[in-house]
Symmetry: C2
Subunit: 163 residues, 2 copies
């Protein structure tokens, strides 16, 4: 109860440590939202959301995957994917069908419309590239750092030279 100053720091909590942590987690949080907002007007004309677009991108890489395989790639479970895929199917981008050889599985395949969307994606990509305003090198570096961060957070592997 000895703290009366609310700004910058309080007692034994170093402001720098607080700030860095705050900045990192908030920076990722804010960047994700900013990207989402940038994509929104580009995807709206097609009736797609950003997560739906990401699912289409993974299908462009490899079509005909199961829900589980998609979830493994995207880090999402069926609670998120089932309704999302249902909407993508209703919009005509994909087709879902139970696997004949294992009726538990659902195979997700692109429709002609889903494949055609890949061509539209070219202009979206260019718009995003312009919006980031960053060089290819900067974006590549940033991507790599984020991937490293994500991998470490997911695997729990430490390096113990952090703050």
């Amino acid at each position: 109860m000895s703290d009366k100053r609310d700004e910058a720091e309080t007692n034994d909590i170093p402001a720098g440590l607080l700030a860095l942590d705050q900045q990192l987690c908030f920076a990722v949080y804010a960047a994700a939202h900013a990207l989402n907002r940038t994509y929104k007007p580009l995807l709206d004309p097609y009736g797609l959301t950003y997560p739906q677009y990401i699912v289409l991108m993974t299908l462009w890489e490899e079509d005909g995957r199961t829900v589980k395989a998609l979830g493994a790639t995207l880090g999402l479970d069926s609670g998120t994917l089932s309704p999302l895929l249902k909407r993508l199917e209703a919009a005509g981008f994909i087709h879902r069908a139970r696997d004949r050889s294992d009726e538990r599985q659902v195979l997700v395949t692109l429709t002609d419309k889903g494949r055609a969307m890949r061509h539209e994606a070219l202009s979206i990509r260019m718009e995003i590239g312009k919006a980031t305003g960053c060089s290819v090198e900067a974006l590549t570096a940033l991507t790599a750092e984020l991937q490293t961060l994500t991998r470490r957070l997911e695997t729990g592997e430490a390096h113990d030279d952090a703050a």
Copy 2:
């Protein structure tokens, strides 16, 4: 209708361009989720969600702000903040009160519990630092790059040397 190969690339769409764009937006997307998942078990004991924790952090920086001021800092509107703050108040972390001098505004202030939570946050910060496994320099650099990206996406200022 001339594309029959679904893998890697199709016709005139260069695979590299697709891949970089896909990697960047997905990297931010995945990192945000990974951070969220890392925070979750640390915040669960306090009954806090990650966005609620972020709101508390901004209040630790400067207490007694209006909903609008919080929204400006966090990039969130009242549609998100109103119910979130309602839950934070129900949980006893903050107090909301109409501004006497301008009844349109609602002032958000920390309670003793909300201020005390800042001390608990120290161990959370250390856990997150360990989980990232990155050096302070790496995290600082990553944060700066993300802030640049976010600023450019939000302001729409281009640099026109992107892909």
